[in-house]
Symmetry: C2
Subunit: 80 residues, 2 copies
């Protein structure tokens, strides 16, 4: 079986307060060598039949991501 994975991340120039909060918490866990944390979304789409990356790209652009502030990547991923 295969599925299409859409990764949506804030554009690099957009502040990510959620990631910053995690980064600020890491020293309390004894981790002091992480310089950046960014948090985005991972969306898994399972198609009936052959996975369709082009269709997934349309879905991402219209429904899953906000292209003004977010970048997304689309890829087909094989599963067991």
């Amino acid at each position: 079986m295969a599925r299409v994975v859409v990764d949506v991340m804030l554009k690099p120039e957009i502040l990510d307060p959620q990631g910053q909060a995690v980064a600020d918490a890491l020293p309390r866990l004894g981790v002091d060598n992480v310089t950046s944390v960014r948090i985005g979304r991972r969306i898994e789409l399972v198609f009936d039949g052959t996975p369709d990356a082009g269709k997934a790209r349309q879905i991402a652009d219209r429904l899953l991501a906000n292209p003004v502030i977010e970048d997304y990547t689309v890829r087909v991923e094989e599963t067991l």
Copy 2:
């Protein structure tokens, strides 16, 4: 440069209302061949120096994921 990517997804047996809402909206976009949508988080950790997947796994387990209801995967990803 390399970074560690942590993908956090709800376990398959846990309901995902957010993904279900997207799946329910797809027919209105003219997409009728998607059978499942699951939405999780993608976290990118940039380390000072060599990326440390083992350390990232500890961070994921203690801070990024809820192991009761979520599964996570950790991998090192090369960037340009």
